[in-house]
Symmetry: C2
Subunit: 298 residues, 2 copies
Amino acid sequence: MSKTGLQSLPNLTVQQLEYLVAATDHSTRAAAAASLGVTPSALTQGLAELERRVGLTLFERHGRHTQLRHQATEVLNHARRVVAETRDLARWAASQRSGSAGVVRLGTIDAVAVQHRAEAIRAFHANRPEVDLHLTVAPSGSLLEGLVSGDLDLIVCVEPVTTPEGVVFTPCFAEPLHVYAPEGELRRPPHRWGPWVTFPAGSHTRAVIAAGLARAGAPFDVVAESNQPEVLREMVRLGLGWTVLPPPTGTMSGSGMVTARAEPVAHRHLVVGRREGSPPDPAADALAAVLIGTGTDR
Amino acid sequence: MSKTGLQSLPNLTVQQLEYLVAATDHSTRAAAAASLGVTPSALTQGLAELERRVGLTLFERHGRHTQLRHQATEVLNHARRVVAETRDLARWAASQRSGSAGVVRLGTIDAVAVQHRAEAIRAFHANRPEVDLHLTVAPSGSLLEGLVSGDLDLIVCVEPVTTPEGVVFTPCFAEPLHVYAPEGELRRPPHRWGPWVTFPAGSHTRAVIAAGLARAGAPFDVVAESNQPEVLREMVRLGLGWTVLPPPTGTMSGSGMVTARAEPVAHRHLVVGRREGSPPDPAADALAAVLIGTGTDR
DNA sequence: TCTGATTATTCAGTATCTCTAAATCTAGCA
DNA sequence: TGCTAGATTTAGAGATACTGAATAATCAGA
């Protein structure tokens, strides 16, 4: 089982290919070596090694200066190609490192993307045109799954009661949740609140609501469910039941629906989630900073 | 003057890129390492080195098996490209080494290309379609110049009196040179031969002719010159003078021109010339063997 | 032809790199 | 918890690549 049993590829290095390119682009090897910042000796040995690995004699000595054999033009073309591609790759990697470019897959719940952080996301997108931003809007549970599975790099979701393994949360902001009742029912005491229309079982926000209502002494029997706040609001307007929601956005306020109490019954805590121990990702870091509010994305 | 002062290219090796390709093409690293014939340890270290040189984290550990970060797809594309190109280059180099492909620049004098070795050259061309054969027909002097300057790889010329530096000759065959006279003058004794039409000064053949005539006791005053045997023959037919030439090819024999003596006055020695100490060039070697007559190009 | 200047290569020694082998770590599983 | 398999870390041997010095080769000019 010799090491070269499979007739494997010659282990050419980018450096050796650079040597070849430099040697052909300069009239003397001393000049080529100087342009690379190495001694002529290193150049000679490196080119000899390259010849050995390719298995072909590339140079022919004519008096004082060696010149390329015509056979070597194919190798030279290869060298130029690879060196150019490597230079491109290095540039790309540098921009990735600096965070000025890259891909960030962001997931948020609807309210964050549409309302609370819409402007921040828009500004980030405008300020970093080289960053390829993918936005997924979904309920918090789905976002968490996407984060741990690697489909998402960064999420903004409602803080769950139990933090799953491998995820780190950073507090973002808290949003008040108010009780809304159909017109005419709003004067009841808490123990006669309901019945409720609210988010489906498993929803993080629903868990927060359930805890808040329990604290207020209200029952929590659910007669209808939806993930969409607009749908819940409509259900209340139709008299199907009560609900607990964040304050509506400007355009929809107060159309046939009334806040039961001025004070919120609970707060849902929005958090930014990242995978624990994830390798540095400057673009995602910058977006997270913007979303949390510490970012200064000019 | 740090070594990385010029923001020089990362010295990626083909091997590292192979590691990356293998790691993504196999589900486990153990399998990838086995496919490359190295230990898993080598794979781990090699990939770590690659990450260090690119400056980006390429893998993300998810439990027991690491998976590519989406950022790494760009690097992976680069790796696949370079590995494929290197494989092509290696294949090409192998065919160059074996002599089944390559470029050979052959130079010959007219008689060799048109007459003596025409069939050998044609057969070589037919048997090795991958060999790019360039044929230059010129006087021996020009051929020699082309050989030493590197414009030609292989020549067949008349052996010069003094072998120039850096050239090695292999005997090929000898060609008789006969005296031709205008009709009616052929009975003279050698000391009354001439005047002569022959090759220009500097011609190797002319040097051979001059020596032969001197040996025969004939004067050698030249009244007209040409590099083309056909032209010299025509001059004799027109009565301008005598000449010394190889036997004419079949189609032109005996039209108003007579051999002075049945015996040739001299022989010119045709030789195959190569640059001394030239690196191995299997395709040129094979053609040289065919031209000398030792080749068995099926 | 000799000499000096310039260029390329070879050589010796050191530093770095990369591999194997063994030990260690980790996750998944009974 | 212990077990197993995959992945990584570690230590050391061998290969590789560099620098600096010595050597060889070429060209220009006396």
